[in-house]
């Protein structure tokens, strides 16, 4: 056996590796699909600000939406405007979110990739001002709109501990706290949504292989929806997949 000690080869490899290790990695690659796919990942991770930057970079290189070829023989649904709408909505800028949603619809993005339609509807509903309630004459004995179900009081200190654990990545503790909260306030859509949120995070962190966990997520979402059909969890806390799950049954 010959040892790999040819000096020229070793020197060349050393140079290549030194350069590879020493060079700062580029933040943007030369193709349109690299920033776009990075943006999709950023959105899934909840980093809406970065997603906006990357989507705008992708749009500057490829303005037209559609089903486009990337590397190899791979094609992807290129829906930058819809993704931008999601990102702006997560950032709380409803005007930009609605503008991008309109562009997405004009470009046929939501038709091209129907899986985005529920999320688009969430954006529209979240960003469209609710109609003012009709004033009806009070008439003793007449039927009137039933009142919203009473929202049970939640323990703010406990919720604070749960959210802190969740944000710190201690999903086990957060799950324990939110489980107790959901048990104590079984009629609270917020408590159920928090339980769904933490279990979704555990499902994601565990590599998305735990079928029982995602089933529990669906159950918690279903309970929350049943308790308050008009309730939507805060978009800033929820990844798009969970929001889409939320919207599935509407």
């Amino acid at each position: 056996m010959r040892l790999p000690c040819r000096s020229g080869v070793v020197v060349a490899l050393a140079v290549v590796l030194a350069v590879a290790v020493g060079m700062p990695l580029s933040g943007k690659r030369g193709t349109w699909y690299d920033p776009y796919l990075d943006a999709v990942e950023a959105l899934e991770a909840g980093d809406a600000a970065r997603a906006v930057d990357l989507l705008e970079a992708a749009l500057s290189r490829r303005p037209e939406s559609g089903y486009h070829r990337t590397y190899g023989t791979n094609y992807i649904h290129y829906t930058p405007h819809a993704r931008l709408a999601f990102a702006w909505q997560m950032l709380g800028d409803c005007a930009k979110a609605l503008r991008e949603l309109e562009r997405a619809e004009a470009a046929g993005e939501l038709v091209d990739d129907p899986s985005l339609a529920p999320r688009g509807e969430v954006v529209r509903r979240a960003c469209t001002p609710a109609p003012r309630p009709e004033v009806v004459a009070v008439d003793e004995g007449a039927s009137r709109t039933p009142p919203s179900p009473p929202v049970p009081a939640l323990d703010p200190a406990r919720l604070e501990r749960g959210v802190a654990a969740f944000l710190a990545g201690d999903l086990e503790t957060a799950d324990r706290i939110f489980s107790r909260t959901a048990d104590d306030a079984a009629d609270s859509a917020i408590a159920q949504s928090l339980l769904a949120l933490v279990r979704f995070a555990r499902w994601t962190a565990g590599g998305r292989r735990d079928d029982a966990l995602i089933a529990e997520v669906r159950q918690a979402v279903g309970r929350a929806r049943a308790l308050d059909p008009l309730y939507s969890p805060p978009p800033a806390l929820c990844p798009p997949e969970l929001l889409a799950l939320w919207d599935e049954g509407r």
Binding site: P4, A20, L25, G30, R69, Y71, T73
Partner: protein, 460 residues
């Protein structure tokens, strides 16, 4: 007549034959496999094969681990790649025959060679790629050589041969008469050789559109060989010596070896429609032990020349490749590779004189030229609904890699000529299902071989 006298006569007569403007012939050798080793140097994968092997500048799937490791950073999702290959090298048969009317021999000399490689079917490339942002890792296994072949060389002399007085007046031998001769030499050989490479690759994107990659290669050779050199005197009466095939000398190989090597690659995409790639692939050095069987009329002489056991070196060629691919429109990609193959590496440790015709001339000169190969291909992808379907075609020119005699002996030059460059035509189709499973098929046909490759990629 002794085998040694016979071989000397064969050499002499072949020289005469060469002078008599015999038709051009391919090599005649009992160790033919060592003079024309069919390495699998083409980039792996049905997609690359159908593009004429031109993949250095594209390398945008998991075969990049072998084709150009710098291309690994193109991938966005982990991939698992699997390839099976069926290949057939045509049986080659050569016959040289001619009359000789010389001072010492009048008659006919015939020399023939038959090589019959087995058709092969095996998984030749498996790869797994893990892309992580601007870096990527890949692990792969490649069969770069898998040959099983049987060769049989024969030499016959029929006619009248001079009988010499040991030393006549004046110090030179003079013929004192003629005798009828009819004898044959046969070299019967089986060769089985397999090289398996295990590769670990790393790639990094240094700046936008420019990446480098390096692959560490661990190669293993397993070789078995048998060569029996037999002698028959057809003029001998039944029961007399040499009336039946008689072993002159024989060699055996049953050994394995391993080696490390490197591949480095660069990839530059100055714009989305063009990509430039380059690789340098270091060859593997293997040394296996060959031994002279201790039986036969000539084994003592063979042992004295080479020893009872001696090393045989097989070095795979170093390869440098430069390629360009352009994508004038989204569905269309055009690729060209220029590949320099250092076939002269095969001569490292080359042992002359083992061949029955050359024996025992250990100083006989053999050579082979380095080759420049041109590979070109075109790919067109269209959408059948949401399913990409690719149609591909290509061609490549395989350089002559046959080791040839380079000395002044015209007889040996006739017996061991250069080979010929061969043009291969390739084609194939591919389909990508649900953005996750890619299936490709490819064929490669030439005048002397045919290969079929099916490969699949699963993207996680």
């Amino acid at each position: 007549m002794s085998p040694t006298r016979t071989s000397t006569s064969v050499l002499m007569l072949l020289m005469l034959l060469a002078a008599a403007s015999a038709p051009p012939a391919r090599a005649l050798s009992d160790e033919e496999i060592f003079r024309d080793v069919p390495f699998n140097l083409l980039n792996p994968g049905a997609r690359a094969m159908s593009l004429g092997g031109a993949f250095t500048s594209l390398a945008d799937d998991s075969t990049a681990a072998q084709a150009n490791p710098a291309g690994l950073v193109t991938l966005r999702r982990p991939e698992l790649f699997f390839e099976v290959r069926a290949s057939r090298l045509d049986q080659s048969a050569v016959l040289v025959e001619g009359p000789v009317d010389g001072e010492f021999f009048q008659g006919t000399v015939t020399a023939g060679a038959v090589s019959d490689p087995s058709a092969r079917f095996s998984p030749t490339f498996i790869s797994w790629v893990l892309p992580l942002r601007r870096v990527a890792f890949a692990f792969s296994r490649l069969e770069s050589l898998d040959i099983r072949a049987r060769t049989e060389n024969s030499f016959a002399l029929v006619g009248r041969q001079a009988i010499f007085d040991p030393v006549a007046d004046g110090g030179r031998p003079d013929p004192i008469g003629f005798e009828d001769i009819d004898f044959a030499l046969t070299a019967d050989a089986d060769i089985s050789a397999r090289i398996v490479q295990y590769n670990a690759a790393f790639a990094a994107e240094l700046w936008s559109g420019f990446s480098v990659g390096v692959t560490a290669v661990f190669g293993m050779l397993d070789m078995d060989g048998r060569v029996d050199n037999l002698f028959v005197d057809n003029t001998a009466l039944p029961g007399e010596p040499f009336a039946q095939p008689t072993l002159d000398y024989a060699t055996r190989i049953d050994d394995d070896d391993s080696d490390f090597a490197w591949t480095v690659g660069l990839m530059w995409r100055p714009a989305e429609w063009i990509s430039i790639g380059g690789t340098w692939r270091q060859g593997l050095d293997f040394t296996v032990e060959e031994r002279v069987v201790q039986s036969g009329l000539g084994h003592v002489r063979a042992t004295n020349l080479y020893g009872e056991r001696f090393d045989l070196t097989l070095r795979t060629p170093d390869i440098a490749a430069l390629g360009v691919s352009i994508r004038p429109s989204e569905p269309l990609t055009i690729l060209v590779d220029v590949v320099r193959v250092e076939y002269s590496d095969l001569l490292e440790g080359f042992k002359a004189g083992l061949n029955r015709i050359v024996f025992p001339e250990t100083e006989a000169a053999f050579t082979v030229d380095d080759g420049t190969e041109i590979h070109g291909g075109i790919e067109y992808v269209w959408l059948a609904g949401r399913t990409p379907v690719a149609l591909r075609a290509g061609a490549w020119r395989e350089a002559d890699r046959r080791i040839r005699y380079a000395g002044t002996d015209p007889g040996l030059a006739l017996v061991f000529p250069a080979g010929e460059a061969v043009t291969h035509y390739t084609g194939g189709i591919g389909v990508t299902v649900r953005q996750a499973i890619q299936i490709d098929l490819a064929v490669d046909v030439s005048d002397r071989s045919a290969s079929f490759v099916a490969s699949t990629i699963y993207r996680f």
